[in-house]
Protein backbone atom coordinates (compact mmCIF):
# COMPACT_ATOMS: atom_id res chain seq x y z
CA UNK A 1 0.00 0.00 0.00
CA UNK A 2 2.91 2.35 0.72
CA UNK A 3 4.11 1.87 -2.83
CA UNK A 4 0.67 2.67 -4.30
CA UNK A 5 0.07 5.66 -2.02
CA UNK A 6 3.49 7.02 -2.93
CA UNK A 7 3.03 6.34 -6.64
CA UNK A 8 -0.29 8.21 -6.67
CA UNK A 9 1.11 11.13 -4.70
CA UNK A 10 4.36 11.43 -6.61
CA UNK A 11 3.31 14.33 -8.82
CA UNK A 12 2.06 16.45 -5.92
CA UNK A 13 5.19 15.70 -3.90
CA UNK A 14 7.51 16.61 -6.77
CA UNK A 15 5.68 19.89 -7.40
CA UNK A 16 6.00 20.72 -3.72
CA UNK A 17 9.69 19.83 -3.71
CA UNK A 18 10.16 22.10 -6.74
CA UNK A 19 8.39 24.98 -4.97
CA UNK A 20 10.55 24.49 -1.87
CA UNK A 21 13.69 24.37 -4.01
CA UNK A 22 12.65 27.62 -5.68
CA UNK A 23 12.13 29.19 -2.24
CA UNK A 24 15.57 28.00 -1.16
CA UNK A 25 17.11 29.62 -4.21
CA UNK A 26 15.29 32.90 -3.51
CA UNK A 27 15.54 33.02 0.27
CA UNK A 28 19.04 31.75 1.02
CA UNK A 29 20.92 34.57 -0.78
CA UNK A 30 18.60 37.27 0.56
CA UNK A 31 18.68 35.71 4.03
CA UNK A 32 22.50 35.84 4.05
CA UNK A 33 22.34 39.43 2.85
CA UNK A 34 19.94 40.41 5.62
CA UNK A 35 21.96 38.63 8.31
CA UNK A 36 25.15 40.34 7.08
CA UNK A 37 23.53 43.76 7.09
CA UNK A 38 22.23 43.11 10.59
CA UNK A 39 25.70 42.33 11.93
CA UNK A 40 27.59 44.97 9.94
CA UNK A 41 25.19 47.74 10.98
CA UNK A 42 25.60 46.62 14.59
CA UNK A 43 21.86 46.33 15.04
CA UNK A 44 22.25 43.65 17.69
CA UNK A 45 22.75 46.38 20.32
CA UNK A 46 19.46 48.02 19.34
CA UNK A 47 17.40 44.87 19.85
CA UNK A 48 15.05 45.48 22.72
CA UNK A 49 17.04 48.36 24.21
CA UNK A 50 15.84 51.90 24.84
CA UNK A 51 15.34 53.50 21.47
CA UNK A 52 18.20 55.93 21.06
CA UNK A 53 18.49 58.37 18.20
CA UNK A 54 21.31 56.38 16.57
CA UNK A 55 19.41 53.12 16.87
CA UNK A 56 16.30 54.75 15.46
CA UNK A 57 18.18 55.78 12.32
CA UNK A 58 19.89 52.41 11.93
CA UNK A 59 16.62 50.61 12.37
CA UNK A 60 14.85 52.89 9.92
CA UNK A 61 17.54 52.27 7.31
CA UNK A 62 17.54 48.52 7.84
CA UNK A 63 13.79 48.21 7.72
CA UNK A 64 13.31 50.38 4.64
CA UNK A 65 16.06 48.49 2.84
CA UNK A 66 14.42 45.12 3.33
CA UNK A 67 10.81 46.23 3.64
CA UNK A 68 9.60 45.10 0.23
CA UNK A 69 11.08 41.61 0.41
CA UNK A 70 9.83 41.21 3.97
CA UNK A 71 6.33 42.20 2.91
CA UNK A 72 6.54 39.65 0.12
CA UNK A 73 7.44 36.81 2.44
CA UNK A 74 4.37 37.55 4.55
CA UNK A 75 2.40 35.87 1.76
CA UNK A 76 4.32 32.66 2.35
CA UNK A 77 2.04 32.10 5.34
CA UNK A 78 -0.45 30.77 2.76
CA UNK A 79 1.93 27.96 1.79
CA UNK A 80 0.97 25.53 4.57
CA UNK A 81 -2.60 25.79 3.25
CA UNK A 82 -1.46 25.04 -0.29
CA UNK A 83 0.63 22.11 0.90
CA UNK A 84 -2.40 20.70 2.73
CA UNK A 85 -4.97 21.04 -0.04
CA UNK A 86 -2.69 19.75 -2.77
CA UNK A 87 -1.86 16.60 -0.79
CA UNK A 88 -5.58 15.90 -0.40
CA UNK A 89 -5.83 15.70 -4.20
CA UNK A 90 -4.80 12.02 -4.59
CA UNK A 91 -7.69 10.85 -2.39
CA UNK A 92 -10.30 12.97 -4.17
CA UNK A 93 -8.90 12.00 -7.58
CA UNK A 94 -9.25 8.28 -6.84
CA UNK A 95 -12.90 8.73 -5.90
CA UNK A 96 -13.46 10.96 -8.94
CA UNK A 97 -11.98 8.39 -11.34
CA UNK A 98 -13.47 5.35 -9.59
CA UNK A 99 -10.03 3.78 -9.16
CA UNK A 100 -10.69 3.29 -5.44
CA UNK A 101 -12.80 0.30 -6.56
CA UNK A 102 -9.70 -1.14 -8.18
CA UNK A 103 -7.76 -0.90 -4.91
CA UNK A 104 -10.63 -2.11 -2.72
CA UNK A 105 -11.09 -5.24 -4.80
CA UNK A 106 -7.46 -6.29 -4.48
CA UNK A 107 -6.55 -8.12 -1.28
CA UNK A 108 -6.18 -5.21 1.14
CA UNK A 109 -8.99 -3.95 3.35
CA UNK A 110 -10.19 -0.43 2.86
CA UNK A 111 -9.07 0.34 6.39
CA UNK A 112 -5.47 -0.33 5.35
CA UNK A 113 -5.98 1.54 2.12
CA UNK A 114 -7.24 4.59 4.02
CA UNK A 115 -4.45 4.37 6.57
CA UNK A 116 -1.83 4.15 3.83
CA UNK A 117 -3.29 6.97 1.80
CA UNK A 118 -3.99 9.40 4.63
CA UNK A 119 -0.75 8.50 6.40
CA UNK A 120 1.31 9.21 3.30
CA UNK A 121 -0.41 12.57 2.78
CA UNK A 122 0.03 13.60 6.43
CA UNK A 123 3.67 12.49 6.50
CA UNK A 124 4.70 14.37 3.36
CA UNK A 125 2.64 17.43 4.37
CA UNK A 126 4.33 17.66 7.77
CA UNK A 127 7.80 17.18 6.27
CA UNK A 128 7.19 19.91 3.70
CA UNK A 129 5.89 22.22 6.44
CA UNK A 130 8.92 21.46 8.57
CA UNK A 131 11.27 22.38 5.72
CA UNK A 132 9.31 25.57 5.03
CA UNK A 133 9.20 26.59 8.69
CA UNK A 134 12.92 25.98 9.25
CA UNK A 135 13.76 28.02 6.17
CA UNK A 136 11.50 30.94 7.08
CA UNK A 137 12.52 30.93 10.76
CA UNK A 138 16.17 31.14 9.77
CA UNK A 139 15.45 33.87 7.22
CA UNK A 140 13.53 36.00 9.70
CA UNK A 141 16.02 35.74 12.58
CA UNK A 142 17.21 39.39 12.35
CA UNK A 143 13.64 40.72 12.24
CA UNK A 144 12.69 38.54 15.19
CA UNK A 145 15.65 39.92 17.17
CA UNK A 146 14.41 43.42 16.52
CA UNK A 147 10.65 43.05 16.77
CA UNK A 148 10.09 39.82 18.63
CA UNK A 149 8.08 37.01 17.13
CA UNK A 150 4.67 37.49 18.69
CA UNK A 151 3.95 40.33 16.29
CA UNK A 152 1.28 39.20 13.77
CA UNK A 153 3.73 39.77 10.91
CA UNK A 154 6.06 37.09 12.29
CA UNK A 155 3.86 34.92 14.47
CA UNK A 156 2.19 32.72 11.88
CA UNK A 157 5.41 31.56 10.20
CA UNK A 158 7.10 30.75 13.51
CA UNK A 159 6.93 27.97 16.04
CA UNK A 160 4.36 25.19 15.60
CA UNK A 161 1.28 26.90 14.14
CA UNK A 162 2.29 26.17 10.51
CA UNK A 163 1.85 22.46 11.24
CA UNK A 164 -1.65 23.18 12.51
CA UNK A 165 -2.44 25.14 9.35
CA UNK A 166 -1.21 22.28 7.15
CA UNK A 167 -3.23 19.64 8.99
CA UNK A 168 -6.32 21.84 8.93
CA UNK A 169 -6.22 22.50 5.18
CA UNK A 170 -5.40 18.84 4.49
CA UNK A 171 -8.33 17.64 6.59
CA UNK A 172 -10.73 20.19 5.13
CA UNK A 173 -9.78 19.33 1.54
CA UNK A 174 -10.07 15.59 2.27
CA UNK A 175 -13.52 15.98 3.85
CA UNK A 176 -14.82 18.10 0.96
CA UNK A 177 -13.10 15.80 -1.54
CA UNK A 178 -14.71 12.58 -0.30
CA UNK A 179 -18.14 14.23 -0.22
CA UNK A 180 -17.88 15.99 -3.56
CA UNK A 181 -15.68 13.45 -5.39
CA UNK A 182 -14.38 16.16 -7.69
CA UNK A 183 -10.77 16.98 -6.95
CA UNK A 184 -10.28 20.42 -8.48
CA UNK A 185 -13.39 22.17 -7.16
CA UNK A 186 -12.93 20.49 -3.77
CA UNK A 187 -9.38 21.82 -3.53
CA UNK A 188 -10.37 25.34 -4.56
CA UNK A 189 -13.25 25.46 -2.08
CA UNK A 190 -11.11 23.96 0.68
CA UNK A 191 -8.41 26.56 0.12
CA UNK A 192 -10.97 29.38 0.26
CA UNK A 193 -12.39 27.86 3.44
CA UNK A 194 -8.91 27.62 4.92
CA UNK A 195 -8.21 31.24 4.00
CA UNK A 196 -11.48 32.43 5.54
CA UNK A 197 -10.82 30.54 8.77
CA UNK A 198 -7.27 31.88 8.96
CA UNK A 199 -8.62 35.45 8.57
CA UNK A 200 -11.15 34.83 11.32
CA UNK A 201 -8.45 33.55 13.66
CA UNK A 202 -5.91 36.24 12.73
CA UNK A 203 -8.32 39.14 13.05
CA UNK A 204 -10.66 38.08 15.82
CA UNK A 205 -9.93 34.85 17.63
CA UNK A 206 -6.17 34.74 18.33
CA UNK A 207 -6.06 37.78 20.62
CA UNK A 208 -8.84 36.22 22.70
CA UNK A 209 -7.28 32.76 23.07
CA UNK A 210 -5.65 33.75 26.33
CA UNK A 211 -6.23 36.88 28.35
CA UNK A 212 -4.01 39.79 27.30
CA UNK A 213 -2.15 41.88 29.86
CA UNK A 214 -3.72 45.21 30.72
CA UNK A 215 -1.44 47.86 32.24
CA UNK A 216 -1.52 51.53 33.16
CA UNK A 217 1.68 53.41 33.77
CA UNK A 218 2.73 56.95 34.45
CA UNK A 219 4.23 58.77 31.49
CA UNK A 220 7.05 59.75 33.78
CA UNK A 221 8.28 56.15 33.83
CA UNK A 222 9.44 53.92 30.98
CA UNK A 223 6.47 51.57 31.10
CA UNK A 224 6.46 47.98 29.80
CA UNK A 225 8.49 46.74 26.81
CA UNK A 226 5.91 47.00 24.08
CA UNK A 227 8.52 46.69 21.35
CA UNK A 228 8.60 42.89 21.58
CA UNK A 229 4.91 42.58 22.41
CA UNK A 230 1.75 42.31 20.41
CA UNK A 231 -0.05 45.54 21.28
CA UNK A 232 -3.79 45.31 20.93
CA UNK A 233 -4.54 48.86 22.05
CA UNK A 234 -2.63 51.75 23.54
CA UNK A 235 -3.95 55.16 24.51
CA UNK A 236 -3.33 58.15 26.79
CA UNK A 237 -5.31 57.63 29.95
CA UNK A 238 -5.98 58.83 33.46
CA UNK A 239 -4.53 57.19 36.56
CA UNK A 240 -7.14 54.39 36.53
CA UNK A 241 -6.52 53.49 32.91
CA UNK A 242 -9.65 55.09 31.48
CA UNK A 243 -8.85 56.38 28.04
CA UNK A 244 -8.75 60.14 27.78
CA UNK A 245 -9.85 61.55 24.49
CA UNK A 246 -7.60 64.43 23.60
CA UNK A 247 -9.67 66.37 21.07
CA UNK A 248 -8.79 68.02 18.91
CA UNK A 249 -5.46 66.30 18.93
CA UNK A 250 -2.96 68.97 19.68
CA UNK A 251 -0.30 66.62 20.91
CA UNK A 252 0.27 64.47 17.81
CA UNK A 253 0.65 60.76 18.02
CA UNK A 254 4.40 60.30 18.41
CA UNK A 255 5.89 57.82 20.85
CA UNK A 256 5.63 58.96 24.45
CA UNK A 257 9.14 59.48 25.74
CA UNK A 258 9.46 60.29 29.44
CA UNK A 259 9.91 64.06 29.84
CA UNK A 260 9.37 64.75 26.15
CA UNK A 261 7.19 67.56 24.84
CA UNK A 262 4.25 65.22 24.05
CA UNK A 263 4.11 64.02 27.62
CA UNK A 264 3.82 67.56 28.90
CA UNK A 265 1.13 68.25 26.32
CA UNK A 266 -0.90 65.16 27.34
CA UNK A 267 -0.48 66.08 31.00
CA UNK A 268 -2.01 69.48 30.43
CA UNK A 269 -5.01 67.69 28.89
CA UNK A 270 -5.46 65.44 31.91
CA UNK A 271 -3.67 62.36 30.52
CA UNK A 272 -0.56 61.84 32.60
CA UNK A 273 -0.80 58.08 32.19
CA UNK A 274 -0.79 55.53 29.39
CA UNK A 275 -2.88 52.42 29.12
CA UNK A 276 -2.11 49.42 26.97
CA UNK A 277 -3.63 46.02 26.35
CA UNK A 278 -1.09 43.62 24.89
CA UNK A 279 0.30 40.10 24.69
CA UNK A 280 3.86 40.13 26.02
CA UNK A 281 6.55 37.99 24.40
CA UNK A 282 6.06 35.44 27.16
CA UNK A 283 2.61 34.60 25.74
CA UNK A 284 4.17 33.30 22.52
CA UNK A 285 4.17 29.58 23.28
CA UNK A 286 0.80 29.60 25.07
CA UNK A 287 -0.82 31.29 22.08
CA UNK A 288 0.99 28.98 19.67
CA UNK A 289 -0.07 25.87 21.58
CA UNK A 290 -3.74 26.81 21.77
CA UNK A 291 -3.92 27.93 18.15
CA UNK A 292 -2.08 24.84 16.92
CA UNK A 293 -4.38 22.62 18.96
CA UNK A 294 -7.43 24.27 17.36
CA UNK A 295 -6.18 23.96 13.78
CA UNK A 296 -4.60 20.53 14.12
CA UNK A 297 -7.55 19.20 16.16
CA UNK A 298 -10.08 20.40 13.60
CA UNK A 299 -7.89 19.05 10.79
CA UNK A 300 -7.58 15.61 12.38
CA UNK A 301 -11.31 15.51 13.09
CA UNK A 302 -12.08 16.30 9.46
CA UNK A 303 -9.62 13.59 8.37
CA UNK A 304 -11.33 11.11 10.66
CA UNK A 305 -14.66 12.12 9.14
CA UNK A 306 -13.28 11.69 5.62
CA UNK A 307 -11.97 8.25 6.54
CA UNK A 308 -15.25 7.22 8.18
CA UNK A 309 -17.34 8.48 5.29
CA UNK A 310 -15.15 6.68 2.78
CA UNK A 311 -15.14 3.49 4.83
CA UNK A 312 -18.86 3.37 5.51
CA UNK A 313 -20.65 5.36 2.84
CA UNK A 314 -18.65 4.96 -0.33
CA UNK A 315 -19.04 2.12 -2.79
Amino acid sequence: MTWLAWRLQRTETLIMAAVLALLLVLLIPTGIQIANAYHQDGLAVCAGSTPSQACGNLLGNFMSRFESIRNTTVWLTLLPGLIGVSLAAPLALELEHGTHRLAWTQSITRRRWLAGKIGMAVGVALLATLALTLLLTWWRTPFVHLNGRIDPAEYDAEGIVPFGYTLFSLGLAMAIGVLWRRAVPAIVVAFLGYFAFRLFVDIWLRQRLINPVSTTWSNATRGPDLNHSWVLSQSPSDRLGNAVAVTPQPCGSAILKPGGPHVRCFSTHGASYSHAVYHPASHFWSLQSVETAIFAGAGLLMMAFAAWWTHERTA
Binding site: M1, W3, L4, R7, L8, H97, G98, T99, R101, L102, A103, W104, T105, Q106, S107, I108, T109, R110, E312, A315
Partner: protein, 302 residues
Amino acid sequence: MNDLAALQTRELGKRYGSKWALRDCTLDIPAGSVTALVGPNGAGKTTLLQLAIGLTKPTAGDVHVLGRSPRDEAASVLPRVGFVAQDHPLHRSFSVADTLTLGRKLNPTWDQEFALRRIERLGLPLSQKVGQLSGGQQAQVALTLALAKRPDLLLLDEPVAALDPLARREFLNALMEVVSETELTVVLSSHIVTDLERVCDHIVILSQGRTQLVDTIDDVVASHRLLTGPRTDPDTVARVHQVIRESHTERQTTLLVRANGHVYDSCWQIHEVDLEEIVLAYLGYGGISPGMRNDTREAVAG
Protein backbone atom coordinates in the same frame (compact mmCIF):
# COMPACT_ATOMS: atom_id res chain seq x y z
CA MET B 1 -24.35 -23.61 4.90
CA ASN B 2 -23.93 -25.27 1.56
CA ASP B 3 -20.22 -25.99 0.98
CA LEU B 4 -20.72 -25.88 -2.75
CA ALA B 5 -22.13 -22.35 -2.92
CA ALA B 6 -19.48 -19.91 -4.10
CA LEU B 7 -21.95 -17.08 -3.73
CA GLN B 8 -24.98 -17.36 -1.50
CA THR B 9 -27.55 -14.69 -0.73
CA ARG B 10 -30.52 -14.83 1.61
CA GLU B 11 -33.27 -12.22 1.24
CA LEU B 12 -30.54 -9.80 0.31
CA GLY B 13 -31.63 -6.22 -0.17
CA LYS B 14 -30.02 -2.85 -0.78
CA ARG B 15 -31.83 0.45 -0.60
CA TYR B 16 -30.53 3.80 -1.82
CA GLY B 17 -32.68 6.50 -0.27
CA SER B 18 -36.24 5.28 -0.72
CA LYS B 19 -35.50 3.14 -3.78
CA TRP B 20 -34.61 -0.53 -3.49
CA ALA B 21 -31.83 -1.34 -5.94
CA LEU B 22 -32.05 -5.00 -4.97
CA ARG B 23 -34.75 -6.73 -3.01
CA ASP B 24 -35.41 -10.17 -1.49
CA CYS B 25 -32.65 -11.73 -3.49
CA THR B 26 -32.09 -15.36 -2.54
CA LEU B 27 -29.80 -17.44 -4.68
CA ASP B 28 -27.01 -20.02 -4.59
CA ILE B 29 -24.33 -19.93 -7.20
CA PRO B 30 -22.54 -23.28 -7.13
CA ALA B 31 -18.77 -23.50 -7.11
CA GLY B 32 -17.31 -24.24 -10.54
CA SER B 33 -20.22 -22.71 -12.44
CA VAL B 34 -20.13 -19.85 -14.88
CA THR B 35 -23.18 -17.74 -14.22
CA ALA B 36 -24.65 -14.98 -16.32
CA LEU B 37 -26.38 -12.25 -14.37
CA VAL B 38 -28.81 -10.81 -16.85
CA GLY B 39 -31.15 -7.85 -16.68
CA PRO B 40 -31.74 -4.38 -18.09
CA ASN B 41 -29.81 -1.38 -16.85
CA GLY B 42 -30.85 -0.53 -13.31
CA ALA B 43 -32.03 -4.06 -12.54
CA GLY B 44 -29.66 -4.42 -9.59
CA LYS B 45 -26.82 -6.38 -11.22
CA THR B 46 -24.09 -3.98 -10.17
CA THR B 47 -25.58 -3.73 -6.69
CA LEU B 48 -25.57 -7.52 -6.29
CA LEU B 49 -21.94 -7.80 -7.41
CA GLN B 50 -20.85 -4.88 -5.23
CA LEU B 51 -22.56 -6.52 -2.25
CA ALA B 52 -20.74 -9.76 -3.06
CA ILE B 53 -17.29 -8.13 -3.01
CA GLY B 54 -18.15 -5.93 -0.01
CA LEU B 55 -18.03 -2.60 -1.80
CA THR B 56 -21.44 -1.84 -0.30
CA LYS B 57 -23.22 -2.98 2.83
CA PRO B 58 -26.56 -4.79 2.60
CA THR B 59 -29.63 -2.96 3.90
CA ALA B 60 -31.35 -6.30 4.51
CA GLY B 61 -30.47 -9.99 4.45
CA ASP B 62 -27.11 -11.73 4.13
CA VAL B 63 -24.53 -12.39 1.49
CA HIS B 64 -21.80 -15.02 1.80
CA VAL B 65 -18.91 -15.50 -0.54
CA LEU B 66 -17.01 -18.77 -0.26
CA GLY B 67 -18.78 -19.19 3.07
CA ARG B 68 -17.74 -15.87 4.53
CA SER B 69 -19.13 -12.37 4.87
CA PRO B 70 -17.33 -10.13 2.37
CA ARG B 71 -17.75 -7.07 4.52
CA ASP B 72 -16.91 -8.40 7.99
CA GLU B 73 -14.25 -10.86 6.89
CA ALA B 74 -12.83 -8.78 4.07
CA ALA B 75 -9.22 -9.69 4.85
CA SER B 76 -9.88 -13.40 4.22
CA VAL B 77 -12.44 -13.01 1.41
CA LEU B 78 -10.70 -10.43 -0.80
CA PRO B 79 -7.62 -12.53 -1.70
CA ARG B 80 -9.91 -15.28 -3.00
CA VAL B 81 -12.21 -13.13 -5.13
CA GLY B 82 -11.30 -11.37 -8.36
CA PHE B 83 -13.41 -8.40 -9.36
CA VAL B 84 -13.58 -6.28 -12.47
CA ALA B 85 -15.79 -3.26 -11.89
CA GLN B 86 -17.97 -1.67 -14.54
CA ASP B 87 -15.86 0.35 -17.01
CA HIS B 88 -12.85 -1.54 -15.59
CA PRO B 89 -11.25 1.37 -13.70
CA LEU B 90 -7.46 1.50 -14.01
CA HIS B 91 -4.96 4.25 -13.33
CA ARG B 92 -4.62 5.84 -16.74
CA SER B 93 -1.25 7.39 -15.95
CA PHE B 94 0.23 4.01 -14.96
CA SER B 95 2.15 1.92 -17.43
CA VAL B 96 1.10 -1.69 -17.89
CA ALA B 97 4.13 -2.64 -15.76
CA ASP B 98 3.03 -0.22 -12.99
CA THR B 99 -0.43 -1.79 -13.08
CA LEU B 100 1.07 -5.24 -12.55
CA THR B 101 3.20 -3.84 -9.71
CA LEU B 102 -0.01 -2.55 -8.12
CA GLY B 103 -1.42 -6.07 -8.30
CA ARG B 104 1.77 -7.57 -6.90
CA LYS B 105 1.95 -5.09 -4.00
CA LEU B 106 -1.69 -5.40 -3.02
CA ASN B 107 -2.19 -9.17 -3.35
CA PRO B 108 -0.32 -11.77 -1.30
CA THR B 109 -1.36 -14.53 -3.70
CA TRP B 110 -0.20 -12.66 -6.80
CA ASP B 111 1.16 -14.77 -9.68
CA GLN B 112 3.54 -12.43 -11.51
CA GLU B 113 4.63 -15.06 -14.01
CA PHE B 114 1.03 -15.71 -15.02
CA ALA B 115 0.36 -11.97 -15.36
CA LEU B 116 3.43 -11.37 -17.52
CA ARG B 117 2.60 -14.34 -19.71
CA ARG B 118 -0.92 -13.05 -20.30
CA ILE B 119 0.23 -9.52 -21.10
CA GLU B 120 2.79 -10.92 -23.51
CA ARG B 121 0.16 -13.07 -25.19
CA LEU B 122 -2.06 -10.01 -25.59
CA GLY B 123 0.84 -8.28 -27.31
CA LEU B 124 0.85 -5.30 -24.96
CA PRO B 125 4.16 -3.52 -24.34
CA LEU B 126 4.86 -3.24 -20.61
CA SER B 127 5.96 0.37 -20.90
CA GLN B 128 2.73 1.49 -22.58
CA LYS B 129 0.54 3.88 -20.58
CA VAL B 130 -2.83 2.32 -19.73
CA GLY B 131 -4.60 5.52 -20.84
CA GLN B 132 -3.28 4.97 -24.36
CA LEU B 133 -4.66 1.44 -24.69
CA SER B 134 -7.91 0.70 -26.51
CA GLY B 135 -11.03 -0.12 -24.49
CA GLY B 136 -10.67 -3.80 -25.31
CA GLN B 137 -7.02 -3.83 -24.23
CA GLN B 138 -7.86 -2.03 -20.98
CA ALA B 139 -10.54 -4.62 -20.27
CA GLN B 140 -7.95 -7.36 -20.86
CA VAL B 141 -5.48 -5.68 -18.48
CA ALA B 142 -8.23 -5.39 -15.85
CA LEU B 143 -9.07 -9.08 -16.34
CA THR B 144 -5.38 -9.98 -16.01
CA LEU B 145 -5.21 -8.05 -12.74
CA ALA B 146 -8.22 -9.94 -11.42
CA LEU B 147 -6.95 -13.34 -12.59
CA ALA B 148 -3.33 -13.03 -11.46
CA LYS B 149 -4.39 -12.94 -7.82
CA ARG B 150 -5.48 -16.52 -8.51
CA PRO B 151 -9.02 -16.19 -7.16
CA ASP B 152 -11.53 -18.96 -6.53
CA LEU B 153 -14.37 -16.69 -7.59
CA LEU B 154 -14.31 -14.12 -10.35
CA LEU B 155 -16.94 -11.37 -10.47
CA LEU B 156 -17.22 -9.32 -13.66
CA ASP B 157 -19.55 -6.35 -13.84
CA GLU B 158 -20.60 -5.67 -17.45
CA PRO B 159 -17.16 -6.65 -18.73
CA VAL B 160 -18.10 -6.46 -22.41
CA ALA B 161 -20.70 -3.68 -22.42
CA ALA B 162 -18.30 -1.00 -23.62
CA LEU B 163 -16.48 -3.20 -26.14
CA ASP B 164 -16.97 -3.50 -29.87
CA PRO B 165 -18.13 -6.93 -31.12
CA LEU B 166 -14.61 -8.12 -31.98
CA ALA B 167 -13.13 -7.09 -28.63
CA ARG B 168 -16.16 -8.61 -26.89
CA ARG B 169 -15.53 -11.94 -28.58
CA GLU B 170 -11.82 -11.85 -27.74
CA PHE B 171 -12.56 -11.03 -24.12
CA LEU B 172 -15.04 -13.87 -23.76
CA ASN B 173 -12.67 -16.28 -25.50
CA ALA B 174 -9.91 -15.34 -23.06
CA LEU B 175 -12.32 -15.87 -20.20
CA MET B 176 -13.43 -19.28 -21.50
CA GLU B 177 -9.83 -20.34 -21.87
CA VAL B 178 -9.07 -19.55 -18.23
CA VAL B 179 -12.27 -21.22 -17.05
CA SER B 180 -11.44 -24.40 -18.93
CA GLU B 181 -7.95 -24.50 -17.37
CA THR B 182 -8.99 -23.90 -13.76
CA GLU B 183 -11.73 -24.57 -11.24
CA LEU B 184 -12.70 -20.92 -11.30
CA THR B 185 -16.27 -19.92 -10.48
CA VAL B 186 -17.38 -16.95 -12.56
CA VAL B 187 -20.32 -14.59 -12.20
CA LEU B 188 -20.61 -12.09 -14.98
CA SER B 189 -23.31 -9.51 -15.42
CA SER B 190 -24.50 -8.31 -18.78
CA HIS B 191 -27.41 -6.61 -20.43
CA ILE B 192 -26.37 -8.19 -23.72
CA VAL B 193 -27.65 -11.76 -23.98
CA THR B 194 -25.84 -12.64 -27.21
CA ASP B 195 -22.66 -14.68 -26.67
CA LEU B 196 -23.49 -15.53 -23.06
CA GLU B 197 -24.84 -18.97 -23.92
CA ARG B 198 -21.43 -19.84 -25.32
CA VAL B 199 -19.68 -18.96 -22.08
CA CYS B 200 -22.13 -19.58 -19.26
CA ASP B 201 -23.85 -22.63 -17.83
CA HIS B 202 -26.08 -20.89 -15.26
CA ILE B 203 -28.32 -17.88 -15.54
CA VAL B 204 -29.83 -15.42 -13.07
CA ILE B 205 -32.39 -13.02 -14.45
CA LEU B 206 -32.80 -9.81 -12.49
CA SER B 207 -35.48 -7.24 -13.11
CA GLN B 208 -36.54 -4.25 -11.06
CA GLY B 209 -34.34 -5.27 -8.17
CA ARG B 210 -35.72 -8.82 -7.94
CA THR B 211 -34.58 -12.21 -9.15
CA GLN B 212 -36.97 -13.56 -11.79
CA LEU B 213 -35.21 -16.81 -12.56
CA VAL B 214 -32.23 -18.76 -11.23
CA ASP B 215 -31.37 -21.98 -13.07
CA THR B 216 -28.93 -23.76 -15.35
CA ILE B 217 -29.10 -22.61 -18.93
CA ASP B 218 -29.73 -26.17 -20.16
CA ASP B 219 -32.77 -26.52 -17.89
CA VAL B 220 -34.04 -23.09 -18.83
CA VAL B 221 -33.87 -23.84 -22.53
CA ALA B 222 -35.29 -27.34 -22.05
CA SER B 223 -38.24 -26.26 -19.93
CA HIS B 224 -39.47 -23.23 -21.83
CA ARG B 225 -41.79 -23.66 -24.79
CA LEU B 226 -43.69 -21.38 -27.08
CA LEU B 227 -47.28 -22.47 -27.61
CA THR B 228 -49.40 -21.19 -30.47
CA GLY B 229 -53.00 -22.01 -31.05
CA PRO B 230 -56.45 -20.57 -31.81
CA ARG B 231 -57.38 -17.60 -29.72
CA THR B 232 -58.31 -18.75 -26.25
CA ASP B 233 -58.07 -17.97 -22.57
CA PRO B 234 -54.73 -19.32 -21.24
CA ASP B 235 -56.20 -20.35 -17.88
CA THR B 236 -56.22 -24.10 -18.62
CA VAL B 237 -52.53 -23.96 -19.49
CA ALA B 238 -51.71 -21.74 -16.53
CA ARG B 239 -53.16 -24.35 -14.17
CA VAL B 240 -50.35 -26.77 -15.05
CA HIS B 241 -47.56 -24.61 -16.46
CA GLN B 242 -46.19 -21.23 -15.62
CA VAL B 243 -47.18 -18.69 -18.26
CA ILE B 244 -44.38 -16.19 -18.67
CA ARG B 245 -45.75 -14.18 -21.54
CA GLU B 246 -48.92 -14.18 -23.58
CA SER B 247 -49.91 -12.31 -26.66
CA HIS B 248 -53.05 -12.42 -28.70
CA THR B 249 -53.97 -11.54 -32.24
CA GLU B 250 -57.53 -11.67 -33.50
CA ARG B 251 -57.35 -15.37 -34.28
CA GLN B 252 -54.31 -16.67 -32.48
CA THR B 253 -52.88 -16.87 -28.97
CA THR B 254 -49.15 -17.22 -28.33
CA LEU B 255 -47.90 -18.30 -24.91
CA LEU B 256 -44.38 -18.61 -23.59
CA VAL B 257 -44.56 -21.10 -20.76
CA ARG B 258 -42.20 -22.69 -18.33
CA ALA B 259 -43.42 -26.22 -18.74
CA ASN B 260 -44.05 -28.35 -15.72
CA GLY B 261 -43.03 -31.62 -17.34
CA HIS B 262 -44.11 -32.16 -20.91
CA VAL B 263 -46.85 -30.23 -22.58
CA TYR B 264 -49.48 -32.68 -23.85
CA ASP B 265 -52.17 -30.70 -25.50
CA SER B 266 -53.34 -31.17 -29.01
CA CYS B 267 -54.80 -27.65 -29.26
CA TRP B 268 -51.31 -26.12 -29.13
CA GLN B 269 -48.46 -26.14 -31.52
CA ILE B 270 -45.30 -26.48 -29.47
CA HIS B 271 -42.05 -24.74 -30.44
CA GLU B 272 -38.63 -24.57 -28.83
CA VAL B 273 -37.36 -21.10 -27.95
CA ASP B 274 -33.82 -19.77 -27.65
CA LEU B 275 -32.34 -18.28 -24.54
CA GLU B 276 -32.50 -14.69 -25.71
CA GLU B 277 -36.23 -14.88 -26.28
CA ILE B 278 -36.78 -16.47 -22.87
CA VAL B 279 -34.75 -13.73 -21.17
CA LEU B 280 -36.65 -11.03 -23.01
CA ALA B 281 -39.94 -12.62 -21.97
CA TYR B 282 -38.87 -12.54 -18.31
CA LEU B 283 -37.79 -8.94 -18.64
CA GLY B 284 -41.31 -8.11 -19.82
CA TYR B 285 -40.73 -7.35 -23.47
CA GLY B 286 -43.56 -8.23 -25.83
CA GLY B 287 -46.41 -8.22 -23.34
CA ILE B 288 -46.59 -9.31 -19.72
CA SER B 289 -48.76 -12.15 -18.50
CA PRO B 290 -51.43 -11.30 -15.87
CA GLY B 291 -49.53 -13.26 -13.26
CA MET B 292 -46.33 -11.36 -13.84
CA ARG B 293 -48.10 -8.06 -13.71
CA ASN B 294 -49.37 -8.88 -10.23
CA ASP B 295 -45.88 -9.81 -9.14
CA THR B 296 -44.56 -6.54 -10.43
CA ARG B 297 -47.17 -4.57 -8.57
CA GLU B 298 -46.30 -6.31 -5.33
CA ALA B 299 -42.64 -5.60 -5.95
CA VAL B 300 -43.31 -1.91 -6.24
CA ALA B 301 -45.79 -1.68 -3.37
CA GLY B 302 -43.94 -3.98 -1.00
